[in-house]
Symmetry: C2
Subunit: 323 residues, 2 copies
């Protein structure tokens, strides 16, 4: 029987789940809304039902090795989601304990979504064979997953790897976390939008972005304007790369990775973002690290990345068992 | 026979070597000058002779398990010192290869001095039993050693753990590394001196430090003035703690340690430095990490710390063999 893992990605709006084989092929996929379930037991019951519905057509053909869950503020050690600001259920949600009561798979694992993406990159993507790398997810927020010696860094409390909340400027932009100047406020999709509005104020160049309100502007529109040579949009990408390059140089001084992988909306801008990130990383990195660290696009397909990452948790854990 | 390790600390001025037992007792110690040997083969030959001289009186009583070397810009993977700015021999010095030709101990290991201090803390000091912690050495420079899952983080190239060269302000103070605004330029012994001179310019408070030239001022004098209530000296310690607390908050967002251990000249100032570091670390750390991370003084005796750290490399490596 074909061995498969179930990957579950819990997002603020939807939860996507899929059955994935060891080569990273998504055999089937479905989703349920996350937001409509403020009580986690109702939500978790719906999730269990969705898993069973997904499995029903293939039960005779596959052996489920385990279940991996990626979630915001996911804690690997406790198998819980803890105080996630963008989920409706509050406090500590014992996801893994709940799933263990319903399924007897050998591996049921949870971690935060960026860590899951990192493990996805390690199992299926461009980080195969790498022992030291860092995944950076550039979406609505900025997440990160740090791998050292081939192992995910979870830290003392299970919450390691929040490079999106390292501080660029303690007197800088207000962050959703309650502090000021976090990397996320500059290099996320909303971050580059904030940069554009700052530049519209400080620069005098004409720009098509001067016709768009803050609420209407999107990272995609900034990308389109930059490709047409819009000076404000180009400067916004350069500044975003400058801030990211500076903080990635700090990250190198911590764990000295072989590569950074960039994933998510902003990473799709291609060289518009990679070129300045590489430039400013090299400019800011300590001399012993110069010309050593690669900045690469994630090789996970954007459409399935979250489910792939979550399912990869299972293969990673299974691999550790066999060592 | 009593099992012992030889610890060697290569400093810019002197090289200290000692015979250390597994409990961290220094059985005997000696030193040779580092600076007088610009050619590394002459220096290494003198070092080998010094090791043999140290061993001669105890040869019948001890079994040498190995030799650990701490050195600036020491590379664990290659066993080399690479382009150390404060040592006279230039380029890449193959220390471990040289020692292996002269001694046939099962373990001959080299790493940078701050990593050696971290392993010393783990084997003999306050980090015994801790899986995740960071050692910060506050001396002429600022070094660091990061431990994750009970293992030293060496990174892709062997040079991980240079938190002293994370950037506080890219337009900040000139650093010996050629860049601007490194943590080291604020929180080393010369760094607090630079802060005092900035404060003497910006503040109007009377201060005994107004009578001392830049070249005459030392961290010790600032410490003494602070204990007498000198406003400038007190503000200098507060600012030093503010900058260190801010960057340690970033370090928490990377590897989420259980504790930081502070070691070296500035750490000897006690609560003058620990109180503001703890305060600003808590102020700057992401909410999920609040009230979790300890900031502790190193428990290594200052006089023997370097040799203890170097010798601890041997016990650590031996321990890994037995796993």
């Amino acid at each position: 029987m074909k061995k498969v893992a179930i990957g579950i990605d819990i997002g603020g709006t939807n939860t996507v789940l899929g059955i994935v084989d060891k080569e990273g092929k998504v055999i089937s996929e479905s989703s349920i809304p996350t937001k409509t379930h403020p009580d986690y037991t109702i939500y978790m019951t719906a999730l269990v039902e969705a898993v069973n519905t997904l499995l029903d057509p293939v039960r005779g053909d596959v052996e489920v090795v385990g279940m991996g869950v990626g979630a915001p503020n996911g804690n690997y050690y406790n198998g819980t989601i803890e105080f996630a600001p963008n989920l409706k259920f509050k406090g500590v949600v014992p996801v893994v304990d709940f799933l263990r009561q319903k399924f007897d798979y050998p591996h049921i694992i949870l971690t935060n979504d960026a860590n899951a993406a990192a493990i996805g990159e390690m199992i299926y993507g461009g980080a195969r064979g790498m022992k030291h790398f860092i995944m950076i997810t550039l979406g609505t927020g900025v997440g990160s997953g740090i791998v050292v010696n081939g192992e995910m860094v979870y830290g003392h409390d299970g919450f390691a790897g929040e490079i999106g909340h390292t501080i660029v400027d303690p007197n800088g932009r207000e962050c959703g976390c309650g502090r000021n100047g976090c990397l996320e406020t500059y290099t996320s999709a909303p971050g580059i939008k904030r940069t554009v509005f700052e530049l519209l104020a400080t620069m005098t160049d004409p720009s098509e972005l001067r016709n768009i309100s803050f609420n209407e502007l999107s990272a995609k529109r900034i990308d389109e304007a930059a490709r047409k040579g819009d000076a404000i949009a180009l400067e916004a990408f350069d500044y975003t790369g400058e801030v990211l390059g500076l903080k990635l140089a700090d990250a190198v001084a911590h764990t000295s990775p072989e590569a950074f992988f960039l994933f998510g909306g902003l990473a799709n801008a291609g060289e518009l973002i990679f070129e300045p990130v590489r430039h400013y990383l090299e400019e800011n990195v300590l001399n012993i690290y110069k010309n050593k660290v690669k900045v690469l696009p994630s090789e996970l397909p954007a459409s399935d990345a979250a489910v792939l990452g979550a399912s990869a948790l299972v293969w990673k854990e299974k691999g550790s068992d066999n060592q």
